[in-house]
């Protein structure tokens, strides 16, 4: 039977963070995931803490750390170091960020013409968050691309109330560019466009066309910025952005789109690459069939994929299955919440109070806080607060007590819990605990 010191179930930000942290500490790590995760839906930025009313992520951390039952009650102290650590790992893969815990939360435009509070952004999105000092904003769309509508975005962002009382752009206008070789194409998606930008020759022509359109749209005007859909390269993104920045007359920034999120894909690939370099392995398309236990320890994980079952012996198991959104917790029609891998108890509000009457209730929905209650080492606990299993750790959006949509804390909780879960691995995985051979095949 193949084996690993640590099996991580789930390949989102929390699972990959935990896996990378474990692999860097010398553990043999196998990631098993059913499919892709929240990274592919997200903005590609790092939301640490941004509940309504706070000025900076650090203030948000403090606020959430003081919120009863919130994961940050135990994790807030870990969060700053965890953030520095993940940024270093991502930078080594060529993915850099701007902003830090003390950067004021600012409003950045979104692709439906809204704004959202941000502080720590990938470099290509960072210009969106700088204070507006009388500059104009041009929304630049791509002809035939159906997930970015510059006229609608410009009309929406022209309203002062979208900027929440802060100064917005002096004015917002729209322009649409036809990119090379795409005339008559109407079904372009973000990923296809991003891959075209990876091609040096094509992108040189594309950037010329964008520059020309901006020059004619903004002739005689003052300084400004240009918002582009987040399609600026996938594998060669840093070079694409650098060329654009040098060539365009206005400071460019990317606006994250609906799925598939190219900035989210970059984040996923950078983490995955860092993990593999650290000796870890990733298998996607694996549905957990069952988990073997001995007493209060998990000993092996069996998965089903391509009509076969395969079993991996493990010294420890990290559960990063993404809560309700990720499918790690499934609600039955009778109101029972089932944690699908181990059948762990799920902490949740009363069935009758799961959802608010309004979809967009500013307080969110009580069910958002549902999840697994853990101890300080991230081990799931029972009613008495004692760990249920010695070598199982729960991370990310599986954790009870957060309402991450409104608290804007998902990425911070994911990274910090991933680090925390692996801090005491040595204690959880005694020498020789994991049987089985490490095949050592890198993917």
């Amino acid at each position: 039977m193949p084996g690993a010191d640590v099996v991580v179930v789930g390949a989102g930000l929390s699972g990959l963070s935990a896996a990378l942290s474990a692999a860097q500490s010398g553990a043999r790590v196998q990631v098993l995931a059913k499919g892709h995760a929240g990274t592919h839906w997200g903005s590609g930025g790092l939301e640490i803490a941004g509940p309504a009313g706070v000025a900076t992520p650090r203030e948000g951390l403090k606020r959430l750390a003081g919120t009863r039952g919130h994961p940050y009650a135990d994790l807030a102290a870990e969060a700053p170091a965890a953030l520095d650590w993940i940024r270093a790992a991502l930078a080594a893969e060529g993915l850099t960020f701007e902003g830090d815990l003390d950067t004021p939360l600012a409003l950045a435009p979104t692709s439906i013409g809204g704004t959202r509070p941000v502080a720590i952004l990938p470099t290509a999105q960072a210009a969106a968050a700088r204070p507006w000092v009388g500059e104009r904003l041009i929304i630049c769309g791509v002809a035939g691309f159906k997930d970015f509508w510059p006229d609608a975005i410009a009309a929406s962002l022209s309203r002062p109330r979208l900027w929440g009382g802060a100064a917005g752009p002096e004015r917002v206008t729209a322009v649409t560019v036809e990119l090379p070789g795409l005339a008559g194409r109407h079904n372009l998606n973000a990923l296809e466009l991003a891959r075209r930008f990876d091609d040096r020759v094509w992108r040189a022509r594309a950037i010329d066309l964008i520059a020309a359109a901006l020059e004619s749209a903004g002739r005689g005007s003052g300084p400004g910025r240009v918002a582009l859909p987040a399609i600026l390269g996938l594998n060669d993104h840093a070079a694409v952005y650098d060329e654009l920045r040098k060539r365009l007359p206005l400071a460019p920034f990317e606006v994250p789109l609906v799925t598939p999120s190219v900035p989210g894909l970059r984040l996923y690939y950078a983490l995955r690459s860092a993990l593999i370099k650290a000796g870890g392995r990733v298998r996607i398309g694996e549905v957990i069939d069952h988990v073997d236990r001995q007493g209060d320890r998990v000993t092996a994980v069996a998965t089903e994929a391509a009509a076969r079952t395969s079993t991996v012996a493990c010294g420890a198991l990290i559960l990063a299955t993404g809560g309700i959104a990720g499918g790690g917790i499934v609600a039955g029609k009778d109101g029972h919440l089932d944690e699908v891998v181990l059948g762990l108890p799920v902490e949740a509000p009363e069935y009758g109070e799961w959802l608010s009457a309004d979809a967009f209730d500013p307080a969110g929905h009580p069910l958002e806080a549902a999840g697994i209650r853990v101890d300080r080492d991230m081990r799931p606990v029972g009613a008495g607060g004692r760990p249920l299993l010695e070598n199982v750790f729960v991370v990310g959006t599986m954790l009870a007590g957060q309402r991450y949509l409104r608290e804007r804390c998902r990425d911070g909780v994911s990274i910090a819990s991933g680090r925390m879960a692996t801090r005491n691995l040595a204690a959880a995985v005694p020498a020789g605990a994991s049987r089985g051979a490490w095949a050592g095949v890198r993917q």
């Binding site: 929240g38 839906w41 997200g42 903005s43 409003l107 979104t110 692709s111 439906i112 013409g113 809204g114 704004t115 959202r116 509070p117 159906k146 997930d147 509508w149 510059p150 006229d151 609608a152 410009a154 009309a155 929406s156 022209s158 309203r159 109330r161 979208l162 929440g164 002096e170 004015r171 917002v172 206008t173 729209a174 322009v175 649409t176 008559g184 194409r185 109407h186 079904n187 749209a217 994250p256 609906v258 799925t259 309700i324 959104a325 499918g327 609600a331 039955g332 029609k333 109101g335 799961w354 959802l355 009457a357 309004d358 979809a359 967009f360 500013p362 949509l405 409104r406 804007r408 998902r410």
Partner: protein, 561 residues
Amino acid sequence: MAESQTFDVLVVGGGATGAGVVRDLARRGLRSLLVDRGDFGTGTTGRYHGLLHSGGRYAMKDAAAARECIAENRVLRRIAPASIEDTGGYFVATPDDPEDYVAAFPAACASAGIDCEEIPVAQALRREPALNPAIRRVFRLPDGSVEPWNLIDANLADARNHGSEARTYQRVVAFEREGDRLVGATLLDERSGATTKIAMRFVVATAGAWSGQIAALAGVKLEMRPGKGVMLIFNQRMTDTVVNRCHKSADGDIMVPVHTVAILGTTDVRVPDPDVYEISREEVAALMAEGEKLFPDLGRMRLLRAYAGVRPLYQPPADAQAADNRSVSRAHTVVDHAVRDGVENYVSIVGGKLTTFRLMAEDTVDAVCAKLGVTEKCTTAEAILPGQVPGKTYWLGHRLAEHEAEGGGDAGLLCECEFVTREMLDEFVAENWPCSIDDMRRGTRLGMGPCQGGFCTFRAAGVAAEKLARGPSGAGAAAGPAGNGAQARPAAQFADELDQGLVGYLRERFKGTRPIASGRQLQELWMVLGMYVGTQGLDSLIDRRTVPPAVAPAEVTDARR
């Protein structure tokens, strides 16, 4: 105030019946005006499961209703084929259905004139493999599914061709009465707040479950018995054939394939007010339990939404004591308020069902014509509606087939579920400008498929914004400068409207999801919230300075909007 317009007949209530009445009046030479407090087809007509009755459901207990259904079924197939999908219907006997009912069913159909053919169970299972394999007998009847908005549009087009009018968002707030006659009406424009007065010779209320409210404005008491029907909408057509249980009609015993989805109906519960009702999880669970007797895997399929409509049931005073709404007649009644209440020029049409809307209109207009001394005969059963190709019923694959016929390739799909292309939306917008996202949806079916508008609603907003920014020709440069100039103000107002379109639509979706939130649909809801609230900052579009919209459960609307 300007001199008021005069019409022969004012028709109040723009569902299928109102559209049918104004068409029939117009064809008989009566210049009429149809008004609705909202858009057309947003009451009971639009909150319907979509069944074109064969009459089989009534064959055993109400032969007259069954005969009406089959006759009108044949008429509608002839005059409005584009609104009908010829799915055919099965009546299946599950092990739970009483043997004597099943045994008597074919003869009852025969005596009502309904084609009913028993087919081997194995044959039915081959066509519909999701059906319960334990069914014992299967009868094939000419049921179908019907698209109500399309049907209303075609009726109104015919009415307009014959000189009548139809106006949305016009609420009747008062009648002017002289002696025993209603001579004028005050209409409130629900969008602008302006009022207008009109004069008329006759009033027809086609307001269904709301007819009592119209009667009250005329100083008359008309007690309706609104019956709430809850329906569940699934993300797939697990059947291409309408499937009914072969038993005495009850809750959860019919599945209707409608376009890309399927709808399980219904319950029947009396509600005091047609605008105030709730859908409970218990009702959803009870429907599912019954539905699983037809399709055992139903519990594993993704449930998109629950929605409800209110039947316009009416109980003549003599037997108002009936305890159970299901025993109240589905037949229609033309209530003549002259005989009953001493108002000479006012009738209400109540009861009935969508399949017989044309006949309801004919009976109503016959009564009106008798009073007004008009001798023209009804021609609505013979005249094919505008925009229809005789014999060409709706087919789910038609949009793809048309696209392929024109050479295929990159279609520019903005709504992938319903095959709505950029070209179709541009065309609709050009013909209907200025139009709302809701109008675009009803006009093209955008957002009515399995993703329920999750990915296409903001694209529709984008098309509309481009139209606004670039003018009618679609040419021209980018949007004008914001924050100043003449162009900026309408752009900002328009942006407000687009917000309401997007936010409002997602809110409506949520209301239908709330009573059914579990399993994969809850996961989907979490994903949509994550995308819009998390990544896209949808909250910033909601103007919280304004009064939040009512969250009354009555806001739960039809699933297909």
